[in-house]
Symmetry: C2
Subunit: 246 residues, 2 copies
């Protein structure tokens, strides 16, 4: 089973204070670009893996999704989700994504935000997602960018000129990375971009879009503290189609 | 027109002493992985863009290609190419890839090694390659990896612990980078991985494979001086298909 850091009391206390948890999609700077990758939810069966507080499922329902299923490993997260355990909007299931059995040929859109980089067994899950999609269905997801997850010491440092640089090393050495993000000992799985793409292609997907996300120059102007995020992208966004994209 | 550093006397003098120029494909550590991406050349029309000394075209002909065309901007390079200006093996053309007019529906395989990162007008060239391929034809190419081209100071430095790290910055700021590689003032075009993929998809290609290439652990064992190359990949390899890959 994947590490479930979200049910760690210390982590959770910090986590729910992040802007993206307090403000939802409005506090999620990459949402606009991620949303642009998602097909129109109207009339679709929509699955959100690692749904957390359920912001995106709620959005999908507001956009006219026929059904929305949100899955998350964390009871604490789900207990705060909009309408948990179920309402007219969204159905929630608490489950470990490494072993969750997805129904076959069911969903038109599978979505996942900042979840896959916690999972060791990602190839198995991606194959399951492929089977769970209807023909022409789309998988849209984000993860922490491999450049972000790679370093032993994942913090900006100053070079000899006093400029902040990202101390990249061990990019090609994939596997677990233990970080102290909000709590001690959070374990992430570092994979290269090529590995994410290869997992998709080997499952049968057609790659449809890829975005190495950092704030735009306009967003940096509004939030100058984000300037360094353009030096190394924090997020990787992808869209893959079951079948041919054309 | 693209900068033609290869016809710079100082650069060329250094360049022809690189192992990959002296030893050809045997001195090119990524060749084995690149070769694995290339469809069987037997009976094909094969195009090599930025062919240099013509090693790959020669290989393609030995593998049974029906025709091989090698194009390079550098007269100096071509004058050293096997059988230049033409022999039973390969036809060579000296031309600027930014303005070279490719024939329509002609080639089964288009190949390019470590050339595209010199070109400002890459999207136009990629669209031309797409049109020049026969249906189901393949484009296989390598470029310097975006992590390699990104930094202002593209040299390993030591962190506080004395470990060598790659000083990544300005990854999302695309455009020209001036480096002193073999000669002063060599200009490369930095693009992100996402941009390379997007250029391919927008031209109509299906992405078939992507490799962020660094030496394998076995290669590092044989050549310990390559250890740092696993910290940040030096090369990016891609394969794209005209049509659907399935």
């Amino acid at each position: 089973m994947a590490q479930n850091v979200y049910d760690n009391q210390d982590f959770f206390k910090e986590y729910i204070q992040l802007p993206r948890q307090v403000e939802g999609l409005d506090g999620t700077p990459e949402w606009q670009d991620l949303q642009a990758l998602i097909p129109n939810p109207k009339g679709t069966n929509f699955l959100d893996l690692g749904c957390g507080f359920g912001w995106v499922g709620r959005w999908a329902r507001e956009e006219g999704a026929e059904s929305v299923l949100g899955v998350d490993v964390s009871e604490k997260m789900l207990s705060k989700a909009v309408g948990f355990p179920t309402d007219s909007c969204v159905t929630y299931v608490q489950a470990d994504l490494e072993s969750f059995e997805l129904p076959i040929n069911k969903f038109d859109i599978v979505f996942s935000s900042l979840t896959f980089h916690y999972l060791k067994g990602l190839p198995v899950l991606i194959s399951g997602i492929y089977r769970s999609l209807t023909p022409g269905g789309a998988l849209v997801f984000s993860v922490e960018h491999p450049i972000f997850t790679a370093p032993r010491n994942a913090k900006f440092i100053e070079d000899a000129e006093g400029q902040s640089i990202w101390p990249l090393d061990s990019y090609l050495s994939e596997g677990s990375r233990t970080t102290n993000w909000l709590a001690e000992g959070v374990i992430k799985q570092h994979r290269t971009i090529a590995t994410y793409v290869t997992i998709l292609l080997e499952a049968g997907f057609t790659l449809s879009a890829i975005i190495e996300w950092g704030p735009s120059l306009e967003q940096v102007k509004e939030s100058p503290q984000w300037a360094d995020e353009r030096k190394r992208p924090p997020f990787l966004l992808m869209k893959a189609i079951k079948g041919n994209s054309s």
